[in-house]
Symmetry: C2
Subunit: 359 residues, 2 copies
DNA sequence: CTGAAAGCGCTAACAC
DNA sequence: GTGTTAGCGCTTTCAG
């Protein structure tokens, strides 16, 4: 307490520099650097000198300036994350995982989100131009931001894209096998006895479009025609899911099961089903995709597809950091492409249809 | 396409510097700086020179190095956000707002989260020591991280704390009036005819503790004794809310209404109520606090307290940026302390108790 | 073992 | 109008 640096006395408190420490100790600045730079310095330092430097540094509350460090070519230990929409609980969860995992590796996250408003597309460049990031992780389909994509290409740091869906040429990518997930859901519903199965999803996001395609193909394979209006497009948020379900319920032959392409949509649908006086799963089965934290706590708990987030994020980080380390060697090591498998999580939002259709 | 920089040819592609541009154009590096630094340079530049510099910079795909810029004392346009728990949907939403609002002002966010695991407390220092942030925003009560608190104190940049609850000496703060919110909820429930009202909340987080205190005081004022076991402590997550409700329902005289200190807890409670076969609000009323995005889409939609997030985040940003701008003048401008008022949002999770207690 | 000196990429006086 | 020259705080040769 008494030992606090008298910040008020020196006027504007400029953070202490190495020089300050050096002068105080009475050694040269480079000696201080050697002691403090953390590196196991190949050069031996007198134990006495080292002790005094550390002591003074502590007293002055010295903190190394990472900008200066970075200028010298050192890592900034910053990873840039570009998210298409942080509002989306799924991405919020992904960011959380990314953040924790990155921290375990000693990195911090710089957040840049690609919210679809045009003005912000500009702001987005900032995180790229601001290339003090050692690497970039892109979460979600940002293909609606052409300028971003092109920026990505000539980024001077490793880039990895997660849940991108589309193949972004020239950057690493880690995706989930949407086909496997969708098939698992549909097999489950068919086993329960459902025939009238509808789909809700945003079609402009390639990752989600893959789920839609898988849905359509599933029925194509089995030779069953999908009734008109059974594939509904919706904005990927709670409200979108609700509206889509309303439209579905207004159909002359409403479905007995609805496959939502994300948990967020499913939650919206769950809400609207309740509003419409429909019991889930007795009157209507609803499934999600992602298994966000909420999914186990909806009313009723949501049957969904578990996204291997940890595995995917870990893999992405691994790819990009490995790239970082072997960067000096080869100009470009080619793109890594990973595709992980999701798994079905059966909870309480699915059941056999009450009105048995002809078996 | 053809105009792409031949990255592969030059071997390891070092990002182009101002010098590279200067040499290419045949002018001095400082001229390039003047043209490119964006500032409305008081010094006039020949239109022809400016044109050529810009042209070459573009062709070389030049990006200014913010580290070097920052070293010169310029802003890094980075705001550090320290969140106590990004997993919490409330904070995820807050981060989103913070991120958008910051971007509107030209700032990017650096994320550091204060997850309670001890090891990460160290990682947290990084974001501080890495003080290339122009300012720091702390979200949520981090008082369980003493080292962080002390670091915060001798931070050389402006710091503002949101939803801190406790008074962090020496840093600006923006809080919500938890008393007003809690009172509004209780008035609402009393008006509906509830007498047996219980509370669920995490007690270690001061922000939430304020809500608990307000709850207790409310009954203290009206001279009504709170039955034993009616104030339940729980971890602030979905599961915690569910467990707390189970305990409440096991009481000899279970409550007819439950006030959860957060929406997350309320959602957990909603889920468990449903599991227990209780209809909300007919058998049990449940209220939340925060009005997270989900709150309007639970089953049934949640009656809660709307948190003025935009206003709070905007205010916090304003305080810290204003501080930044007038920083050279006065050593410390004193701490700003803001307290905003929340408002009640009545939805469908509250109603009159079915079993009328004596009026 | 330690000091002196040269930059990293950029901005901002200060010259011409 | 444009070039020269100092540094910002640090790491890293290279000399002692």
């Amino acid at each position: 307490m008494e030992a606090r640096v008298p910040a008020g006395i020196t006027g504007v408190s400029r953070p202490p520099t190495m020089r300050d420490v050096a002068m105080e100790v009475g050694v040269s600045q480079s000696t201080v650097s050697r002691v403090l730079s953390g590196a196991p310095s190949r050069v031996p330092i007198a134990e006495e000198t080292r002790r005094r430097v550390i002591e003074v540094a502590e007293r002055l509350n010295y903190r190394p300036n990472p900008l200066a460090r970075g200028l010298r070519g050192a890592r900034t230990m910053l990873i840039g994350a570009i998210v298409r929409d942080i509002t989306d609980p799924f991405f919020a969860g992904a960011i959380e995982v990314l953040s924790s995992e990155a921290m375990k590796l000693g990195y911090n996250l710089v957040l840049g989100h690609a919210h679809t408003r045009a003005e912000e597309a500009i702001a987005l460049r900032a995180i790229l131009e601001t290339r003090h990031c050692d690497a970039l992780v892109v979460l979600g389909d940002v293909s609606d931001q052409p300028s971003l994509i092109s920026d990505l290409h000539d980024a001077t740091v490793p880039v990895v894209a997660l849940w991108q869906g589309s193949r972004l040429q020239g950057v690493h990518s880690v995706n989930v096998d949407n086909r496997v997930g969708t098939n698992a859901v549909l097999d489950h519903l068919r086993t329960l006895g459902h025939h009238a199965i509808a789909y809700i999803g945003e079609t402009r996001l390639r990752d989600l479009k893959e789920r839609e395609d898988a849905f359509v193909d599933y029925f194509g394979r089995t030779g069953i025609a999908i009734p008109d209006g059974y594939v509904r497009h919706a904005r990927n948020n709670h409200g979108g899911g609700g509206e889509a379900l309303s439209a579905l319920l207004a159909l002359p032959n409403p479905p007995t099961a609805v496959v939502a392409s994300t948990d967020v949509l499913a939650i919206g649908a769950l809400h609207t089903a309740h509003r419409s006086g429909l019991a889930v799963p007795d009157d209507l089965s609803i499934t999600g995709f992602d298994d966000i934290a909420m999914a186990g706590f909806t009313v009723p708990a949501l049957t969904t597809v578990r996204m291997p987030i940890y595995e995917m994020v870990g893999a992405a980080l691994g790819i990009v950091i490995e790239d970082l380390e072997t960067l000096a060697d080869r100009p470009s090591a080619g793109e890594a492409r990973l595709m992980l498998k999701p798994s079905l999580v059966i909870r309480d939002s699915t059941g056999s249809p009450r009105i048995e259709t002809r078996q």
